[in-house]
Structure formats: C-alpha cells, structure tokens
Amino acid sequence: MRRAHRTAHRMLWPVLALLVGLGLTLSLVMRPPPAPPAAAEEQR
C-alpha cells in the first residue's frame, strides 16, 4: 500500500467506527418494545 492509502486508512477507520457505532447504538436503544405474541404472529 502507498503512504496515501495508509493515511486514508488511519483517518477513515475512526470516523467509520464512530458513525456506524453511533448508528448501531441508536438502533438498539430506539428499538420498539417487543410485540405481544398474538401481534407478533400477525406481523410474520
């Protein structure tokens, strides 16, 4: 790999980790509560 690729790697990964980590955390926290069994059956 060239120096420019390595530099881009070092800059990209912290940003990607932050953005995707944030998205993943929010999607876990904001998950709707589980549907009651009857409703869940309906959804499938």
């Binding site: 060239r2 120096r3 690729h5 990209l12 990964w13 990607l16 993943l24 929010l26 999607s27 876990l28």
Partner: protein, 348 residues
C-alpha cells in the same frame, strides 16, 4: 484498451483455498437451515424462504467480517498472509452469497403475491426521513451494488487497467459497504426480531474489524514518520550485518514512500517497497531463488536492478546505496525503474 486479458492463473494453493472456502460456506448454510428447521419447522413456503434469507444474509456478513480482518491481521502477524493471497476469490463468493440473500427476499414477496408491496415499501418517501423505520432494504441494496462493483473489478485485468493505486482506492469502498451492511441489519431484522444473537453478532463482528484496523494503523504510523537522514539527505539503514540475510530492512524518507533495503550475502540493494502487482510490501518478503519475492502473491524481481526475471517484464524503482563509515546508506531519490543499483560489500 491497452491492457491484455490473461486467464486466472490457477495453482494448487488456490484450489485448496477455494475448496476450503466453498466447503465452509456450504456447511454454514446447511447447518443454519438444519438448526432453524429443528427449532421451528417452517409452516409455509414464505417461512421456508425466510430461513434461507437469514442463512445467506448472516453468512455474507460473517464472510465480509473475515475478509476485512485478513488485511490488518496480516499486518500484525505474518501467518495470516496465507489468507491474503487469494482474498479476491473470497470477496467474489461473498458477493454471490449476498446476491442470493437479496434474490430470496424478492422470492419471499413473490411467494405471497406481494411483489408490488416491495416497490411500495421502497418508494414510501416519508420513511426516508425516519431513523427507525428507514427503508433498510435500500441500505442493503446500496451495499450489494458496491460489492458487485468490487467483485466485477477483482480480476488482474482491472488491476492493470486502472493501475494498482487507483484499484486500491476503488477497493477501499468495501469499508463503506461493510458499514452499510451493519446498518442494514441494525435497522432491519434487529428491529423486529428479539433474538439476542443478532445484536451480539453485529457488535462483535464490527468491534473485531474496527479494533484490528485501528491497531494495525497505529502500528504502521512509526514506519511513515521517516527514518533519520544524514546532512546530505541519505538515509542511514545500519551496519550491513543488521540486515538479515535474504531479507530487508524497511526505511522511508520523511514524506516519501518506503524503501526496502535487501541483503543477499554480500550484495546490498534498495528497491521501492511497492510491488508493481498490487503495491504489496516487497520489503516484508524474502529472497527466494535469487529473486526478491513479494509476500502477497509471489511476484519476483532481481535485487541488482529491480527487473522481474524473463519472460516477465515488470520493473521496480531502485535507489542508490553506499557504505559510509561502515553503515549502509540509501539515497531517498528513486532511480528509473530497472536501473542497476546494488553494491557488493566486503564479507565479514
């Protein structure tokens, strides 16, 4: 087009690699489907297709996680280089598995006569303003398009046609594809299926890949800072004996590319650290059969002039080398590729 097409060069190692890969994927999918059927036998055709969607989707995610771990693992431990040399086949197979995952999703709608619902789901523009409820299939589709682009340009023809640096930039979009896949799962199945395996798999996979890339990147920083140079700009590599026989020391000019200083007995020569094939780290290779050999795919060059042995025509840039006060010094200014530049040092 100026680049000729050559068929894939198969070798015993590639057959073994691909065989293990195919066997692993087949076993995973069969085991997933078998266990799912045992836990909850599907009641109808859509439920059976749903199991296939999950099996192929989770398989593609795991494959992508492994692919993205191979690069930094090979930087941290040379043992993993044996997984690196045929990584492109791994990538193409991952695209195929991801494509089948998407195909089964369409089949799932079709089996219920609900194909128009898929279109309606994707064109419900108000959902694009939501976070929870965002059309996650669009995110998956974007990732699939990227994987298609990468799989279709995986052949050496495209590597030569685009040039190794441009090809590498293109293939770095796999990181974006991985991020999209994580969000596709997080905003999709994780929202309505409470099985704890899903967030665990996502978090563990993403954490492993991220930590490996951050650690490998951190360790590479020192090599890019530059090696101390003398007053006249020549870089000091060390005494000849500090270069292991048939191996290299890697030095770099501040702000410049890395230089591999090899020793083959009494011969010392410096070559660009970038293999002309995929810009692999030549200096981490060894001298085999009298030629400097790239650790990634085995491309070879003569130490004396950086030229590949006949009938091959690839060349590497060489660097002037001298011995001063008993130390090997390298000029930071590259000579034209293929220029003889190695020197002989007195034995002992």
């Amino acid at each position: 087009m100026s680049v000729g097409f050559k068929a894939v060069q198969w070798s015993r190692e590639k057959y073994i690699y691909d065989g293990v890969l195919l066997a692993g994927v087949t076993l995973y999918i069969l085991a997933f489907i078998g266990i799912s059927y045992r836990i909850e036998p599907p009641k109808d055709l859509p439920a059976a297709i749903d199991v296939r969607i999950r099996a192929f989707g989770s398989c593609a995610f795991l494959m992508l996680t492994i692919i993205l771990s191979i690069g930094p693992l090979a930087r941290l431990n040379p043992w993993f280089r044996k997984l690196l040399f045929n990584r492109r086949h791994f990538g193409v197979l991952t695209f195929a598995i991801a494509f089948l995952h998407a195909w089964f999703m369409i089949e799932w709608y079709e089996a219920q006569g609900n194909l128009p619902n898929l279109i309606a789901e994707l064109t419900k523009w108000s959902d694009y303003g939501k976070f929870i409820g965002f059309p996650f299939k669009v995110i998956g589709f974007a990732a699939l398009l990227l994987l298609f682009l990468l799989a279709s340009t995986s052949h050496d023809f495209w590597l030569a046609f685009l040039s190794p640096p441009a090809w590498k930039w293109l293939h770095m979009t796999i990181y974006v594809a991985y991020g999209l896949v994580v969000l596709h799962v997080a905003l999709g199945i994780m929202q309505y299926d409470r099985n704890p395996t899903i967030p665990l798999m996502l978090i563990a996979g993403f954490a492993v890949v991220t930590v490996l890339h951050l650690v490998a990147g951190w360790r590479e920083r020192a090599g890019d800072r530059g090696t101390p140079a003398g007053n006249d700009g020549w870089i000091v590599a060390g005494v000849p004996g500090s270069i292991p026989d048939k191996c290299a020391l890697i030095v770099s000019a501040p702000g410049g590319e890395r230089i591999a200083v090899f020793r083959d007995g009494n011969e010392i020569g410096a070559l660009s650290n970038l293999c002309s094939h995929q810009n692999g780290p030549i200096g981490e290779g060894r001298i085999i059969d009298g030629c400097v050999t790239c650790p990634w795919h085995g491309w070879q060059y003569r130490l004396s002039d950086g030229r590949a042995p006949p009938p091959f025509t690839e060349t590497l840039a060489t660097y002037p080398v001298r011995i001063r006060n008993g130390l090997v010094e390298v000029s930071p200014h590259a000579l034209p590729p293929g220029t003889p530049a190695s020197i002989q040092v007195p034995s002992g």
